[in-house]
Amino acid sequence: MKKQKDWLFLLPAILVVAVMTQIPFILTIIYSTLKWNLSRPDLGITFNGLKNYLYYLKIDDFQNIPEFYSIFWQTIVLTVSTLIICSVVGFLFSILLDHAVPGINIARTLIMGPFFVMSTASGVIWKTTILNTTFGWYGVIFKSLGLKPIDLLSYRPLAVIILLFSWQWIPFFVLIILAGLQGIPQDVEDSVKVDGANWFRKTFEIKLPMISEHMMVAVMLGLIFIVKEIGLILVTTAGGPGTRSYNLPYAVYMEIFNGSQVGRAGALATMTVIITLISVNILYRIIRKRKAMYE
């Protein structure tokens, strides 16, 4: 009797998730094979085969490589640099915050702050009160030093976005890595002390391997969340100048809301999902391999 009823617990959740995520995703894949222009209903919707994909991928001559490739490259640069910065700085911050100095909880709380701030708010705050060349701290400090502040948002858009992404996600890495550090048993610390290992060895050769699992989890979750972030890009550089600070999700957004090309946007979205899943998969395999090595 009971055996039949257990799936009833599962069904509502599966239904809601399927209707809101799986079915629309399948539709996206179907749309990606259609020629469908929202702003020209008179043209109707026709089957277009793989032409939408070829529009992005086909290289006719090497003087004129489709924009897709540069956007793809930017996405990699954005994500990988952010993840590296987050891991390194996150680890160093965690080592620092692992000390029992007076008021350490306040310090931890302050470092945690940026993670809980909505990306659109942190974007506009950085843009207006810090990065602005006339009214922001950056501009004012540079001018008082006799330097000419360049407009970072137009000249170094990717670097700015990497900086802001990192500022937001380092706390998340600290959250997880610090939990790992605090889980290191006291007798390990004690035996290190007896061995007389110096700080550098203690930190990088003993503690780092012990929290590698936490680090990997942080990188994995970070990848999943960072790769889909567009709010920050929209409010800071709006993808510009040109498409220099687009990432793939932002390109999808622009294609549908400015281009009204449902089919093309569908193709781009499908490719974005495939690329995301492949990179998560690769990372997961690396983690599993490393884990097997340690065990």
Binding site: F9, A13, I14, P24, F25, P114, F116, I125, I176
Partner: protein, 285 residues
């Protein structure tokens, strides 16, 4: 100095080291937090005071009052609260029984629980761009952007997998023997869940709920695309400040403060359970 014992010298050295470390840690922490800190400060400035960067000024509540008396702002705040409250509630109602069944349920095929769990995990990986095109066209067609329910169901669909993922590892910590014993006593599945398992995974439920609340409060992409003027949330509202090149800094800061403070406070209060939920969910599972 000279008649200090070695013991005292040692202790002094350690004290100095701790003091230095404290200064370094707090220096970094305050610097790291300073953009938010400066935003909070600027919220207490007048527009005139906020034009150029400065730290010392006569604080005033004028701008905050102005922002809070804005009917639009109030509407966005209400919309955000609505989405956070109902998404969290419904997500928990759907995900608690689901993750309980994933761990303890018996299905015709033994692997059903495992594969359903993996399916939930993979949907976490799905970026919102994968679904936004059909959702956007449906929402336009059926006028769902005019109703807060439209965004709500999208949020529920996207956050249930996260709750399932977190709760799954908490339920796994519940000893199977307790559940089996209660089964022999003739306890129904529902009773097992409500009166035996649920109290044991309370921390998990709380931290999953909080994580969803913070995510939804801050979510931008879906809210931006699936809402109209009357249904937009605070994160969409904040994005509207992007065009103002250094203008209305005080107003921007005061609005940001309203938009940011709830999530930051919630996050701070719940750090410990968040850590527990995330690490248990990820390192173990």
């Amino acid at each position: 100095m000279s008649n200090m014992t070695l013991e005292q010298k040692h202790r002094l050295k350690r004290k100095i080291k701790t003091a230095m470390l404290t200064i370094v840690i707090f220096g970094i922490a305050i610097f790291y937090f300073s953009p938010i800190l400066y935003m909070f400060l600027s919220a207490f400035k007048t527009e005139h005071q906020a034009v150029m960067p400065m730290l010392f000024f006569q604080p005033t509540l004028e701008t905050i009052k102005l922002v809070l008396s804005d009917r639009n702002m109030f509407g966005y705040l209400k919309n955000s609260l609505f989405q956070v409250f109902f998404t969290t509630l419904v997500c928990l109602l759907l995900a608690i029984p689901a993750s309980f069944a994933l761990v303890f349920g018996k299905f015709r095929k033994k692997t059903t629980g495992e594969s359903a769990y993996l399916w939930f995990i993979t949907t976490i990986l799905l970026p919102p761009v994968a679904v936004i095109i059909p959702l956007y066209t449906w929402y336009q067609k059926f006028n769902l952007i005019k109703s807060p329910l439209g965004l709500l169901i999208a949020y529920i669909g996207f956050h249930v997998p996260i709750v399932v993922w977190m709760l799954h590892s908490f339920f796994k910590d519940v000893p199977v023997s307790i559940i089996e014993a209660s089964e022999l006593d003739g306890c129904s599945r529902f009773r097992q869940l409500v009166s035996i398992a649920l109290p044991l995974v309370r921390t998990g439920v709380i931290s999953a709920g909080l994580l969803v609340a913070i995510f939804v409060w801050n979510e931008f992409f879906l809210a931006f695309n699936l809402t109209g003027n009357d249904t937009a949330t605070l994160s969409v509202y904040m994005a509207r400040f992007r065009e103002q090149q250094g203008m209305f800094v005080a107003q921007l800061s005061a609005s940001s403060m309203v938009a940011v403070l709830p999530a930051v406070i919630l996050g701070w209060i719940t750090q410990k359970s968040l850590v527990k939920g995330l690490t248990l969910g990820s390192v173990k599972g």
